[in-house]
């Protein structure tokens, strides 16, 4: 009899009471990810922008254009800052705006490793290696929770984007 009561109580505790340990585990995982520095970094005027980190507007100066998009149901807005040569999108996370995406607008800006729009696919491979995944014209280099994406048409880079992988 006691066994039944203990079993039932235990199962209830399992269903409802594992929150703290789970939260602790999740927090630890987040800390681990925060410490990861092995990622592709965008650099503009000696200012480094890291995907997934909190966005500091001061780093990039005044944007040319600012726009916002909201999600269908959930709170929080994506903020899109358009600068002369690239566009940066932030996503809300833990009450902060983190850099989610950087998209190049023309060939006057390049990745930290030196690849710009109009460069050849050979240059991309020379700089980033052959450890990429290809889906049609899209070449993706992945590091931790971010992707560096190149669209390549006729062997030439036509689009460059740094993007957070959103699960």
């Amino acid at each position: 009899m006691k066994k039944i009561v203990v079993c039932l109580l235990f199962s209830l505790v399992v269903f409802t009471g594992c929150k703290n340990s789970e939260v602790k585990q999740v927090n630890e995982n987040i800390k681990k990810v925060d410490k990861v520095t092995d990622t592709y970094v965008f650099s503009n005027n000696n200012q480094e922008i890291v995907i997934g980190e909190e966005f500091s507007k001061d780093k990039l100066g005044k944007e040319v254009k600012y726009s916002e998009t909201a999600s269908c149901a959930f709170e929080g807005i994506d903020k899109i800052y358009t600068y002369d040569h690239f566009e940066l999108t932030t996503y809300p996370k833990d009450n902060k705006d983190v850099v989610g995406n950087i998209y190049f607008l023309d060939n006057t800006v390049s990745t930290k490793e030196g690849v710009a729009i109009d460069d050849s696919i050979d240059k991309v491979i020379e700089k980033y290696g052959s450890n990429y995944t290809q889906e049609g014209t899209l070449f993706k280099y992945t590091k931790n929770d971010m992707e560096l994406k190149f669209i390549v048409e006729d062997d030439k880079v036509t689009s460059i984007e740094y993007a957070m992988i959103i699960n």
């Binding site: 009899m1 039944i4 409802t16 929150k19 909201a70 959930f74 358009t82 998209y103 899209l138 689009s159």
Partner: protein, 330 residues
């Protein structure tokens, strides 16, 4: 005997906790109650709209009824993907067979499962049926598990310290937040700037998307339902010409009517400085009324739908709905 009592108490407690901990979607995240609200309907509908937020934000069935006597319902959810639309339509046919199904094509661009959070909004309060089982299987992300849809406590056990007043208030009762599936939003947020139109690596709808589009088309044909395609007016996310061409091609191939309301926004009278609540993504109440007036006129005249305003039984139900609707919108 004592054992039986203990097991019984455990079962009752388990059921109670399942109910208590599951989100109610009443005052907060109202989008999560949309699937359920349909089951409260007392009459059939001549038109069923299916799709994502572009239908539940932009189509007002009660406006269509008031103006044209059309009975309709929006079975739309946030980020409702094409396979989800298919199963929701299939489920709808367990209750009624409309004359027309209008499918909003916006979601055709998405091939990947988006997020567990959106799955929950759509599925949590859906009644159990074979369609729900199939829908869960088609929608689940890798990290999800089927059992957590059966026993919400497995998913929501950590809501103990997040319970809100509504969790107790609506423990054993429900309320309607939409008007035949239309979620009213009266805010005005004019269009100022739009993000850059970005180059995509691939503009083609996937085989999976076409597969479910085919299934919807065949399901309608088998049930003698006219399938109509629409694209709601919006300025963002961009509806690329490549998307438009694929929809047109599909519509031509299968002789479906397709209405793209982006192109006729001016004719409809949509003013993106006044008629949108989020800077051009969705229409607000004013915009939705304008679109519903415009589209209602097409539906009424082209498809010769019955005017139910002269049907006493239906009209008395809709009069009640309209009274409530007008109270909220005025």
């Amino acid at each position: 005997m004592k054992k039986v009592w203990i097991i019984l108490i455990f079962i009752i407690l388990f059921i109670f906790l399942n109910k208590l901990l599951a989100p109610k979607y009443m005052d907060y995240l109202k989008e999560g109650n949309m699937t359920y609200e349909y089951y409260q309907e007392k009459t059939n509908h001549d038109v069923i709209f299916i799709g994502d937020c572009e239908v539940y934000a932009n189509i007002s069935p009660l406006t269509m009824y008031e103006q044209y006597g059309i009975t309709s319902y929006v079975r739309g959810n946030s980020q409702q993907l094409i396979w989800q639309s298919y199963y929701l339509l299939k489920e709808t046919l367990n209750y009624e067979t409309p004359a027309i199904v209008v499918l909003n094509v916006n979601a055709l661009r998405y091939d990947k499962k988006v997020s567990e959070a959106y799955n929950r909004l759509m599925i949590d309060k859906m009644k159990w049926s074979q369609e729900k089982i199939d829908l869960i299987k088609a929608s689940m992300l890798e990290e999800e598990n089927f059992l957590s849809y059966v026993f919400p406590i497995l998913r929501y056990h950590d809501r103990f310290d997040k319970l809100k007043l509504e969790d107790f208030k609506y423990l054993f009762k429900e309320k309607s937040n939409t008007y035949n599936g239309f979620l009213v939003n009266k805010k005005v947020k004019p269009v100022k700037n739009l993000p850059t139109k970005r180059k995509l690596a691939n503009y083609s709808f996937s085989d999976n998307v076409y597969n479910y589009l085919d299934k919807i088309r065949k399901l309608c044909a088998e049930n003698n339902i006219k399938l109509v395609l629409m694209k709601a007016p919006s300025l963002y996310p961009y509806w690329y010409l490549e998307y438009e061409n694929q929809v047109k091609e599909y519509a031509e191939k299968y002789k479906l009517d397709y209405y793209n309301f982006i192109d006729v926004s001016d004719t409809i009278g949509i003013d993106y400085q006044k008629d949108t609540y989020d800077g051009g993504l969705h229409l607000n109440l004013n915009g939705a009324i304008k679109l519903s007036n415009y589209f209602g006129n097409i539906l009424k005249n082209k498809y010769h739908l019955k005017d139910y305003r002269s049907d006493k039984k239906v009209n008395s139900i809709y009069e009640e709905k309209l009274k409530k609707f007008k109270k909220e919108v005025e």
